[in-house]
Symmetry: D2
Subunit: 380 residues, 4 copies
């Protein structure tokens, strides 16, 4: 299958499916490049994991996924990291035969809007027909567990980031500062920091849910405190790496930086961010660039917007294809699903961005010089 | 600097600046993973190079860049590739001292909207202040030379691709079929296949040019004939790799697939492409997915839109920063520039997409099985 | 720490220490690039694991390591691989506080001949002082688990490989055919296919063990059935990749191919393997090349010898350094250890070679075309 | 072909054949990861290039290869590096039709001991039959040009390295200190620092040359000043990377570290290097480890020996295979060749080692912190 590793110096490798087989099945992530001396605990990782956990509230799937994570490797006897890779496992619990049998019914039918058809064409008959295998949204738990460590490192480096819903089915959140958004973005199920817009979005999504349908939206990602000069000038621009990271999330159908697609209607004089000096510090009058010039960080806030498609699993009849028969067949409504992905995907976007920024910092400074704690005996 | 290599099995490594020093300076690309037996010639590569060449027409920079390419390595005595990497060099010609002196005047000033400031922060005082170094648009000649080989390979595999302007300063091209677009997209300077829209776009850009300003736009990329199943399911989705490839182009500020950002307003039932069977072949009723489901190709046309920002170099006064002095200084108008990047960047987008698709094909089939010609003695 | 991933298309990523902390700690390996349709079971992997397991016989460490492996991810409901990465975990069992306390006594002392000192200099005070962390021989369990899958794939491709002791403390095994060696090499504790030499080696090692000391040796690796043309001509020669793979095993101090260091005394006419034709098939009169010419496989048997140093942990007093004090201190004898690594390291060498060969096959043919089983619906 | 790139953060990508076609053909190297501010010149690189140049003296091939190198990219107007990749090209000059015609005669015959046969099996009929293509020893010019930059960087870091002949056809050089060896190793054609042994080696090689034959030998590599802690603990041990680097040189058939294969006869108490303290500095009583413990540098001198096979091209009749006919055919004596590779390969070994050490330093410290010169404006 390949492609289960992301990052260069700070890197995660993930494995696992929603429904493994046998006792002790699960999903796991190996995080390589973790500096020595970090006091990681299961509870700390769990806090991030809980952000993407479904099963809470009316906008989320009723599937039972407790997603309890466990650090099984990488800590020394003193409970801190040693420089060794960190291994985190999340055992599957919702693997009752009754659910597996439900999946068995549909196992030859490709769900429209889902990757199933592509998997059949890629891997052939030996499919993991249960729970969508590696194309399940559940694959992202490893990213979030790895992202938790990345966020810890960023915090030590004075870098902060948030991702929140700014648009859903025509309803837009008002603009606000990083700090204001941060304070409010996790106070509602749709993860929108504007309470008034959030209420309208949630109402609209519930209406759509009642129709048996699902809703798409747009998530904004903001990263504060990134020093100027991150990213490489040609193929590994920070913008390119962030695009790679975020477009690797299944439901993402677009990404834009700063003014984004609006640049198609802008003049150079409107799009250029002129320089200014405030309190002896060089900065910019505007931030059309979204903190990235020529793909490299310019020291300003990084601003990115991400298009998240509606959940493809819906409770309406659709024309599907039966792979063994190679015939069109009607797919009956499916009931277990998230009416929107907005309430969960923000944490995956935050995680992928955090991993990318830590990796870029390590490329520039060396993995021994990011989040460097007081540490005796070192020679390098 | 790093990041000058792109691709896994089919990979390009580029080097070079607009203004090297000394006799014989130039830009070059090494293309690794080229199958044996391809009859490459300078003339064949040159045809693609000429697509991105400026100096032709009123919408382009008056800089003299003939960009003559020369294959200096990788061909056997019989004039065909041998499986060895191919080396292509493009010597600099526009390196007259007078131009270099013009650059010297501004060498400490960061041009707003340009990567200069980021380079100062990243590399410090040892800047290539002449012609923007590796952040110059001219860096892309190596990509286009490498892309020419990738396009040759795709042609043998029955895959075709085009990139053309669909929007510029509020003016949109009408929708059309792949074949219609292909027939017309290179008939005007702005590279728009809709002649009526093209005329209006060109007129608007000329007006903006006369103001001393520049114009942004949106380019659409379409890829026909890609088999279902390309791309890896998790971090190396085909969508993620294409996003990486295309967002590594300096002026790109956004990318979207199929319905793109419009998914933020769509229901699942609207966004899902239901299946259909025509002439015994399974296909889709619609193509909201843009040919990519879960990031993997589904066999339908791949459709991508790319936001291209206005050229940052403008003939208007702007507040800049003088790096040695760390003071704000006014930057005088600069005269040599492209009023829009739309007429040239399409070829770079096509090249990066072609390289990405060839690389993905080789990952699945092995580099020995892509564009495999009749070839004796092979054992593998 | 990095460097915990090996391979390009077929790749393993490992994690874990001998003594993790807390309940459920262990070592794990993620194997990426596994083709769909392989009927893997815990029992199948376990068979390979048992080859490197200590605790059996008088030549091995008395440490209790049952090394029970468990496939926790990567299998579909039908019990075969799906193309997804395979996750295998080995829980730690020998983690009784009493052993950990034994390690605590020596935790500041660098064992001569061991990597401890280098780890202190690299990672500083935050050491995994218990059981040598990632520099423990136990790190290799993940390699062997991944190697088991690689061996399965090679078997389907008609490739076989064995590694066995040919020399130990001056005693040499007689030369023999691949098949003869294969039949006998696992019939004694020292893993030598020549019974007479094996008996003398074992006797000598036991004498050395009684002195409180340990013994080194030389292992030969032979790979049969590799097609001509594997490996890339320049930096990724098959010889270079095998050298990388095998020299990544902790105790390895040298590697040689075919005639090896003897070439220093050979003329070209002695070292060149002339061609011959037998039964209509082109072959070689001799095999001084060890199956590798210019680093690429030539279709003949690959023959490699590996120098394995004596276990550094000995029961004799040695001058060590106390890191916190930066003073020389005498290290008391340590009792739990393998008197020689020869009986276990062969399986690690076999595993690393198998992984390297599978990876090279996939590079040439594509990961979809190695071990390709009958499989419907595939498009690529 | 692939595999034409080596290194992670400091990396070289090479291209080119001995006999390109057409005017302006040549070999080139792109060196990525070069820090800004280095005053590189053609003359500086040339000095290293001249070490591997043949055509000088009676022990070398009479081929005319002036190997003039030219830096065509990567320098700023001030003549120092800018952080951009550096491009170096070496044009072919010895491409007279008469020589090409000589090669054409033998173009279907595989030279015993040479990679030709493997290339036929790998790439099929589209061979570069002239001058051995990428399997020619001439491929190494790019490595040496890149190595020159690596050596410059090491010099700034206080690291020095030398490679010299210690054995040839049964004649051994006496042991000596690094400084003594450095002073003498380039005073004779066979590159042996022991003048008495060198004289005997040269005499022996000339005798063998007169027989129409060639001679193998052993080269020792020593690296002084490497800090403790370089290399990663598992798959990317410094020993594994050095083995990869050096075994990627065509004629290398073995590599050993420190005591090397002798460990097969050693007890732990003999092989362990005990600690000592001299002038307040921790060191080792002996250096059996060759400066590498668990594959990581321990701060002591790194000592490596490399087996270099005799040149396969000889002036004696040999049984070859005619590929189109698939028949055994006698290969007539070939006259242009090096009677031994010892006089040239040392510079390639030095280069590959230098590149590997710089890369490992950059992995630990970040590419911005190796050879860091005084440099204003940097933020990272």
């Amino acid at each position: 299958m390949l492609g289960n590793t992301f990052g260069r110096l700070f890197r995660i490798t993930t494995v696992g499916e929603s429904y493994g087989i046998g006792k002790g099945s699960g999903l796991a992530v190996i995080v390589d490049g973790v500096p020595p001396g970090l006091p990681l605990t299961d509870a700390f990782i769990q806090e991030e994991m809980d952000k993407r956990r479904p099963g809470v509230g009316k906008l989320n799937s009723p599937r039972l996924e407790t997603d309890q994570c466990h650090i099984f490797a990488g800590l020394g006897q003193d409970g801190v990291t040693t420089g060794a890779p960190v291994g985190i496992i999340i055992y599957n619990v919702d693997t009752q035969p009754v659910h597996i049998e439900q999946y068995r019914e549909y196992k030859d039918l490709c769900r429209p809007g889902h990757a199933t058809y592509c998997f059949y064409k890629k891997y052939g008959q030996h499919q993991d027909w249960c729970g969508a295998g590696r194309s399940s949204g559940r694959e992202t738990v490893g990213r979030v567990a790895g992202g938790a460590i990345a966020k810890y490192i960023l915090q030590q480096e004075g870098i902060d980031l948030i991702a929140y819903t700014v648009q859903c089915m025509g309803i837009k959140a008002k603009e606000m500062s990083f700090d204001e958004a941060k304070q409010n973005y996790r106070t509602n199920e749709i993860n929108c920091p504007d309470p008034e817009a959030a209420a309208r979005m949630e109402k609209r999504v519930l209406e759509i849910k009642d129709e048996g349908d699902t809703a798409g939206g747009i998530i904004e990602l903001r990263i504060k405190g990134v020093p100027a000069g991150l990213g490489e000038p040609v193929f590994d621009k920070l913008s390119a790496l962030l695009a790679h990271a975020i477009c690797s999330i299944g439901a993402v159908k677009g990404i834009e930086f700063g003014a984004g697609f609006e640049v198609g209607n802008m003049k150079g004089s409107e799009n250029n961010d002129q320089f200014t000096k405030t309190d002896g510090k060089i900065g910019f009058k505007t931030n059309q660039a979204g903190g990235l010039l020529g793909g490299i960080s310019n020291g300003d806030e990084i601003i990115i917007r991400v298009a998240v498609k509606p959940t493809p699993t819906i409770s309406l009849k659709q024309d599907s294809v039966n792979m063994p028969k190679m015939e069109i067949e009607e797919l009956s409504p499916i009931t277990r699903r998230d009416p929107t992905l907005l309430g969960r995907h923000y944490s995956v976007i935050e995680s992928m961005a955090a991993i990318t920024i830590v990796d870029a910092l390590m490329m520039a400074r060396g993995y021994d010089n990011v989040c460097r704690i007081e540490n005796k005996w070192r020679e390098i």
